[in-house]
Symmetry: C2
Subunit: 337 residues, 2 copies
């Protein structure tokens, strides 16, 4: 087993910098697109074999140092019976968005039997994978934003209005989502995942004050709720330059950084007690190779000199990215990192 | 003439804090919606009378301390013959996006005769308005992002790839857009606008290094190109916490701040030589009044103690905002600011 990813998460010395890509499984790979012509998103996620296959595809093709389970942050809600679909080109869409305290009842606890396909997929994967598998969950704020807005949003108006106008209901919503995330992550680790990542992708839409007072406690509860499992915990969001220290303090071992803040500055902000993951701008991966190479070299240079760097993009792989670019990028990081 | 807006821009003492709202003219007002049932966006902008009417609507209803010309950042491109439409619910869409050096020829200099409707509207407005009129333009990066992507974007992949892979062409594109913005702003001030705002709405998608090296020079040229006119120059973008000092140094008198950074922290970042504009989260204006009031009080408190604050939202008014909330907000700022 190639364990340099886990070693870097724990800030231990590595032979070369480990690298994986958020959304490495999915839309940028032709073998995934071919599969999607036959199966819907939820069909794939309901099948242990298909989930395992899609999770394996980028490991085979790209030579990355970690796999991430192919899934979606709203899958646990679907698993407990909330009516949600994933619309191609749009994202998660809820037929009946969260509005009042009555809606809390729709968020029943997640049961191990709700997750059979996922845990079966992980069992297949841990037998086949030459690299560690990352399990993941959506952080309460980000999941709540989809559930309250009814789908993706640019401004999170309903979410923020609820957060400020009904603080008790908001806290109850985040608490239920935290419980679901804890059960979801524990099931993944119990089945064989070697690390977990909490995606608070849209936390960067919040002021630091809102984040600290109204969002971070529920995320911190999730990290505490999986602490005894002993796996590295990664905490990721976009546009979170102002929140990096808090995102570490929430209970992470690794803080994800998008491309807006250079890694040396990120390290200054979070302090020495955390590993960092990032932070090449995924937009640049659509440019010619010389651009990608120069940008990747800059990332490696700013991370150099101390252990605890997992190379990644600053956000997910864009669909229009060439798999060849990703493959060269893995080689480049392994050569120069 | 109520001049407290201009005084605050110049960091002079004011009787009460001036307030206006980005997108105060438009989708949140029923009188605007009624007008839009009869006229398209470009029809309004092509008519001096309709442009003046829409610009006046929020001044009449809300009692704000400044008007902003009803227009769009892509109007100058339409005026020189670039094929662009403004799709409802989407934004500017270009039939034939910018791709190569040949496309530079489509960006001919802006001529005063291209702007007759706008300058005529401003003449009507300056005769009727009890408050100063703000003219505006889109900053080169933000306009380029629409032109290169072909429309609104989440990731600016084509724009960033062009910026990094063809630096000479990128600089030439931004230079042409800067020339157009200078001509556009000068025409507005010559016709009677008392201040100008440069919208670099999407600059926050850039790292500080990209902003400084590849974007800021063109914006700085615009500010320099209108410096002799002697009107306050406002510089605004979203998610620009890392760029605030640069956005001031580009040549602004007033730096716009979104809601992610509190104004006292923003002041620390930009230094004492600039006025600040902002920074209530527009999402919160859709919440019940007690939430809006508490958030507005916090903005005023963090700005208190020194001159140079123009109260505004951190981004444009959301369409679902109640005009009553905006009206109460103006009263609140005038009472407590």
């Amino acid at each position: 087993m190639n364990d340099r990813f886990l070693r870097a998460c724990r800030r231990r010395p590595v032979d070369v910098t480990p690298v994986w890509f958020m959304r490495q499984a999915g839309r940028s790979l032709p073998e995934y697109r071919a599969l999607r012509e036959r199966y819907g998103m939820f069909e794939i996620m309901a099948s242990a074999e298909l989930t395992a296959e899609v999770t394996l595809q980028p490991v085979r093709r790209l030579g990355v140092d970690a796999a991430i389970l192919f899934s979606d942050i709203v899958l646990p809600l679907a698993a407990i019976g909330v009516d949600v679909e994933i619309k191609p080109g749009v994202g998660p869409v809820f037929a009946d968005p969260f509005r009042t305290a009555d809606d809390l009842e729709r968020l029943r606890p997640l049961d191990p039997t709700d997750m059979a396909a996922v845990t079966d997929a992980i069992k297949i994967l841990t037998a086949e994978l030459p690299v560690p598998l990352i399990g993941f969950a959506g952080a309460p704020f980000t999941v709540a934003s989809y559930f309250v807005e009814g789908g993706p949003s640019r401004d999170y108006a309903k979410t923020k209005a609820l957060m400020r106008s009904e603080p008790t209901l908001w806290a109850a919503l985040l608490d239920r989502l935290a419980d679901i995330a804890i059960a979801w992550l524990r099931a993944q680790v119990d089945a064989g995942a070697s690390a977990v990542q909490l995606f608070d992708s849209w936390a960067g839409a919040l002021s630091a004050e809102d984040y600290r007072g109204r969002v971070m406690p529920a995320s911190a509860r999730i990290f505490a709720g999986v602490a005894d499992l002993g796996v590295p915990r990664i905490h990721f969001g976009v546009g979170t330059g102002e929140l990096l220290a808090d995102m570490g303090a929430a209970g992470a071992d690794v803080v994800g950084v998008d491309w807006r803040i250079p890694l040396d500055e990120a390290r200054r902000r979070v302090g020495g007690a955390y590993a960092l993951q990032g932070n090449l701008d995924p937009a640049l991966c659509t440019a010619p190779w010389n651009v990608v190479e120069a940008a990747a070299a800059d990332v490696l240079e700013r991370a150099a000199g101390r252990p605890g760097h997992v190379f990644n993009l600053g956000h997910g792989v864009l669909p229009e990215t060439s798999p060849d670019t990703l493959q060269r990028l893995v080689e480049f990081v392994h050569e120069h990192g």
